[in-house]
Symmetry: C2
Subunit: 179 residues, 2 copies
């Protein structure tokens, strides 16, 4: 059954938030943006979703100011998280923690660490070693004990090694680093 996107009558900030990021795949698109994915083709291959669905999700996220188009190679735009998009990090982290606790019998597939000192990130977003709050810009993601091996696409391959969040994936770096 297809339901409309809006939660009419639900006067609640959570309902408003879900109207923006609650559609199927939207939060996985946002997750990939945190992982450094910027190109339509990289989102499409890593997520394995129909291009029409991806285009629709990206358009909504841009309309709502979660992602912004940034200049890419040729005439194509890429997509980068805005400050409003970056502010979704606690939502993603909370979902990951719940999934790790209940659906990761072999341990977390991915772990997050504090780039400054190598500590983990506790549920409140603090470093388990130095105690400082760990902003997303100081967070490294790496395969965890439950990691199942790289996926068959370039994004999956890049995520098989530790990477700072938000660092554009290989192929984007030269452009972004000199911007």
């Amino acid at each position: 059954m297809v339901l409309p996107r809006d939660y009419t009558g639900q006067r609640c900030s959570m309902a408003r938030a879900l109207e923006v990021v609650g559609e199927r795949w939207s939060l996985l698109v946002v997750r990939d943006a945190f992982f450094g994915v910027r190109r339509f083709s990289d989102f499409a291959r890593h997520l394995g979703i129909p291009r029409a669905v991806l285009a629709e999700r990206l358009a909504l996220l841009v309309t709502e100011g979660v992602l912004a188009p940034v200049p890419g190679p040729g005439r194509r735009s890429e997509y980068a998280l805005t400050d409003k998009g970056l502010a979704l990090w606690p939502v993603l982290r909370a979902l990951v923690e719940w999934g790790d606790a209940h659906y990761a019998p072999g341990g977390p597939p991915r772990v997050f660490t504090h780039v400054g000192c190598g500590g983990g990130v506790d549920p409140a977003g603090g470093c388990t070693r130095c105690g400082a709050p760990v902003p997303v810009t100081e967070t490294v993601t790496a395969p965890g004990p439950g990691y199942g091996g790289p996926g068959p696409d370039p994004v999956g391959a890049a995520l098989s090694e530790p990477r700072p969040l938000l660092r554009p994936l290989p192929g984007h770096e030269r452009r972004s680093d000199t911007a």
Copy 2:
């Protein structure tokens, strides 16, 4: 376009979590359970969704151990959050905070306070007054500055006043308090 519930190929705890709570309305059902809603008819009236959709969402949440059936009046079951369901509170709080920050121009429609001392709850889940972590069982929800008035149903009416989270709504209290 209808998409399957599972995120095949996404070996990620967030994807696993979204397979359980990422369907439309599921997190609003969970939210209502935090507000003390337990009866099918109360969920249905407060959410205003087709009963078939609600039945499907409740069934999945029970199958996954987020909600558990508890004895209700007559031969009907009610639904209560399990420990696994209670562990979703940080997810809901993070979504509410993001929605408050970006979609509540008149201020938060609902606020959360620490029952022990009346302080607010900071983004990391601590009390803004006493500094202690605020567990969901010590959290009160009340209309905030952006509150739009009670909805036309009994749940909406109950939420027009401050209420501890998880306290069963009027009509359930006698049964639960003596259990």
